[in-house]
Symmetry: none
Subunit: 224 residues, 2 copies
Amino acid sequence: MDRIKILVVDDESRMRKLVKDFLVKKNYEVIEAADGSEALDIFFDDREIALVICDVMMPKIDGWQVCKEIREYSKVPIIMLTAKGDERDELQGFELGVDEYISKPFSPKILVARVEAILRRSNVLEESERMEMNGIVVDKTAHSVMIEGNPIELSFKEFELLTYFMENAGIALSREKILNNVWNYDYFGDARTIDTHVKKLRSKMGEKGECIKTIWGMGYKFIA
Amino acid sequence: MDRIKILVVDDESRMRKLVKDFLVKKNYEVIEAADGSEALDIFFDDREIALVICDVMMPKIDGWQVCKEIREYSKVPIIMLTAKGDERDELQGFELGVDEYISKPFSPKILVARVEAILRRSNVLEESERMEMNGIVVDKTAHSVMIEGNPIELSFKEFELLTYFMENAGIALSREKILNNVWNYDYFGDARTIDTHVKKLRSKMGEKGECIKTIWGMGYKFIA
DNA sequence: AAAACATATGATAAAATTGTGAAAATATCC
DNA sequence: GGATATTTTCACAATTTTATCATATGTTTT
């Protein structure tokens, strides 16, 4: 899965950097905008931003305005950074659809906690990546495999191999191709090791092992 | 915060024990009273009882009477256990200030659900973040853990780790991910420290330690 | 049908990962 | 400041996975 994108809008570059640093450490992808119009440009251009963190006080277009314009078209979660707890402003904000406030100065922990809470609420975090073909259910998130409702235990490589097969169902895959995709690029061992893994996979998959077909002189193919 | 106190009033010890067992598993402190006058004594003596569960049918002072006397001085939520749905009685009860009825026989789930609902309504469960999975009760507010009704002592990190696992039950978690979420962003130590914590957690959790599964070559996963 | 070649299989060796206990470093509490 | 508990590190054992190889089995070609 790709990293989650967060748009940080603030006219002070120091503040942007601060916020960015903590979020990057948490493995988010942070995009910066130095003012309201840049923020709106980026937001409507990118279309994949999962969260907006926006300073209220900005020259030209202020935070409220940014919020309002985004809300015209999007329900993306918005966190506002306020100078201090101005209740009247906050009330106004909630009407505009602000999801959360963080008043400066804030601790990094608070920031990260709020961000995670919001993302969890909006189900951006941890959507389960599942795949189902012919009674074989692969859940990449849970790292589990079920066949006809029964869980089976696969080793790491076997799991990777199976998901690679299933993601490329119906496509003939040469050993070379499999090596390049399932093994690290720096693997220079024997390609025949694939055979062994295929063997184990097939046996663990029972009847469904026949989904992995041998293409003589070429490689393998997964058929659903 | 201390555990929440619930007073259970019933002349049948079997019934008291039944109710108590389920509530204790949910980390409530249960105080028993075998008859009405004992109940009133305990209630006015303790002053910290958050909920009263009271049988209607009792010798000497019946449930209605207990309810009435408590209501003279307190607005504590009261749940009545009735033999069967006698509507006339229930009407009478609501006038007395009974909050909820549970008619015998009841399922433990119903009981616990009603209790939690009432406590939430009366703000006793003030955002007390607790979760329960497979007999493991974690109360983030109280920072306590119970397994099958027995409290276990966890260190700070162990507690954080367990809650992280439980909040992400069923999801395969890489060491990197665990470090980023349970440890501070500024931790750059050895990832193997996780193993040590997992080891201690497992041993402290006894049989339930098996809920933390090792995913070879990948990380760990909590299964409920 | 035999030769030549490709894949399957089982056993085994090598490598990688995790479990564990103890010691060292840190933090916390009197 | 010392005692205690927690957290981290480390070394080694135990375990699991992965790679290799020899051999068996199966396909294709001649």
